[in-house]
């Protein structure tokens, strides 16, 4: 009988000890394209239980301004004024404009505008709390930002982790719609700032290329909004976003000898005007 007991114990507990001691698995960088021999798996991925459209977080959109040394600069007049925040009384207005302010915050951070960062961080904290996002922007985060104000990568890391915490909180509380509105607001603001920095011309080739490349995010945004059209707050901008995607789709682009996406200025202006229209609609929400 003792042997049986020992056997049961060994069989039961060994797997836990083994699994807790397993090593991290990390594959190599060089990924080669492989033939799709896993047909069963391929079929299975058509039937996903859960799909996440990884729309770029506001800090990721703002980052396109500093990519590839594209001569972007800081212009405070492009930010949504903090004075406007008082008029955002509905949940929808607060969510979209939290996204707008988050992108403004990231833009200011990337250009080391310390005082503006702190002011926008404080406003983001208020809006997030009003939306029920607990501990989204705590004092510790604010202090970490101040301590790393001259370290661009560290700032991006802090903002990113902070955003993920809010995203997690909203998902775990079934408020994905609020999270999506924040993302959409942030994406539009990032695009708006980028557009304004080009003066709606195609002279700044690197920035123009980054803006044209955002068609990829837009494609996913349209797919996402199609799935979430039942939410009033998201339906509000569905037609605008779809129309913006149609404009992108209608514009011929080429890749130049430096690998940058280019288009005719007259076509670029169409994108520019549409982005500005959507952005102004968001900041005018009440």
């Amino acid at each position: 009988m003792k042997k049986i007991i020992i056997l049961i114990l060994v069989c039961t507990f060994i797997p836990y000890f083994v699994s807790s001691c397993k090593k991290e698995k990390k594959t190599d960088n060089n990924i080669t394209e492989i033939d799709s021999d896993s047909l069963a798996f391929q079929k299975k991925i058509e039937e996903a239980k859960e799909i996440f459209y990884s729309l770029p977080a506001p800090h990721e959109v703002a980052e396109l301004l500093t990519n590839q040394q594209n001569d972007a600069y800081f212009d405070q007049t492009l930010l949504n004024s903090l004075d406007n925040s008082e008029k955002y009384t509905t949940e929808v207005a607060k969510a979209y404009n939290l996204g707008i302010y988050s992108a403004d915050l990231s833009y200011a951070s990337l250009f080391e505008q310390n005082q503006i960062v702190i002011k926008y961080m404080a406003k983001n904290k208020v809006l997030a709390e009003q939306l029920g996002i607990i501990n989204a922007f705590d004092d510790e985060t604010l202090n970490k930002l101040q301590d790393n104000i001259n370290n661009r990568d560290q700032i991006m890391r802090i903002i990113s982790e902070n955003f993920m915490n809010s995203d997690a909180y909203l998902q775990e509380n079934n408020r994905q719609d609020i999270g999506a509105m924040i993302l959409l607001g942030g994406w539009i603001e990032g695009m708006y700032i980028a557009m304004k920095l080009t003066d709606c011309t195609t002279k700044n080739k690197k920035l123009v290329s980054s803006i044209l490349e955002q068609k990829l995010s837009l494609e996913l945004t349209v797919k996402f909004l199609e799935d979430y059209k039942n939410y009033d707050g998201l339906r509000l901008f569905y037609d605008d976003i779809k129309n913006l995607y149609e404009i992108y789709e209608s514009i011929p682009t080429e890749i130049d000898d430096k690998g940058l996406l280019t288009t005719k200025e007259s076509d670029f202006i169409k994108i520019c005007k549409k982005i500005e229209k959507i952005r102004n609609k968001i900041v005018s929400l009440t």
């Binding site: 009988m1 049986i4 007991i5 049961i8 114990l9 039961t12 836990y16 699994s19 807790s20 397993k22 991290e24 698995k25 990390k26 594959t27 190599d28 960088n29 990924i31 394209e33 492989i34 799709s36 896993s38 798996f41 391929q42 299975k44 991925i45 058509e46 039937e47 996903a48 239980k49 859960e50 799909i51 996440f52 459209y53 990884s54 770029p56 977080a57 800090h59 990721e60 990519n67 590839q68 040394q69 990568d153 991006m156 890391r157 990113s160 982790e161 902070n162 955003f163 993920m164 995203d167 997690a168 998902q171 775990e172 490349e213 990829l216 995010s217 494609e219 996913l220 797919k223 690998g259």
Partner: protein, 149 residues
């Protein structure tokens, strides 16, 4: 002795079940993923792609991958799950990369040759050793670093 054995079996039943359900929360798994990205100097994208799956179920992330950046993808799963299979595919479902594990973690890096939307799919393995309806958290965390300046 028979009484002792029955107590022992009851104890083991509750111990294994409670252990199985509570090894880690989704948030903890995400934080582990973030820590791995940070250790490798990647900046997390700030998105929380976490869901509860049981065997044979799939979770997907659609994401734009931009040329000029290098990506690290960290997939962590609850230990109660019998491992998983991961694939990276383009929008036509052509698989660029895949891997599987009976462990609870896969990390891989990817440098896109062109900017495009890609789909990361994670399917929980089938196993006769695991209770059919047992769900565990699966987390997909993505980070990037710029490689062109």
């Amino acid at each position: 002795m028979a009484k002792l054995l029955s107590y022992l079996i009851i104890f083991i039943f509750f111990f294994t079940n409670s252990f199985g359900q509570s090894t880690s929360t989704c948030k903890e798994l995400a934080e582990r993923g973030i820590a791995i990205l940070n250790e490798n100097s990647y900046i997390p994208d700030g998105r929380y792609n976490s869901t509860l799956l049981k065997e044979n179920e799939v979770s997907q992330v659609y994401k734009p991958f931009i040329k000029g950046k290098k990506y690290m993808i960290v997939i962590t799963a609850d230990k109660v799950l019998p491992g998983f299979e991961v694939s990276l595919a383009d929008m036509t479902r052509k698989i660029i990369y895949n891997d599987s594990t009976s462990d609870n973690k896969i990390i891989f890096e990817y440098t896109p040759e062109k900017s495009q939307n890609l789909i990361i799919s994670v399917k929980v393995n089938e196993s006769e050793e695991v209770e059919k309806n047992l769900r565990g958290c699966v987390n997909i965390i993505i980070g990037s670093i710029r490689i062109i300046d």
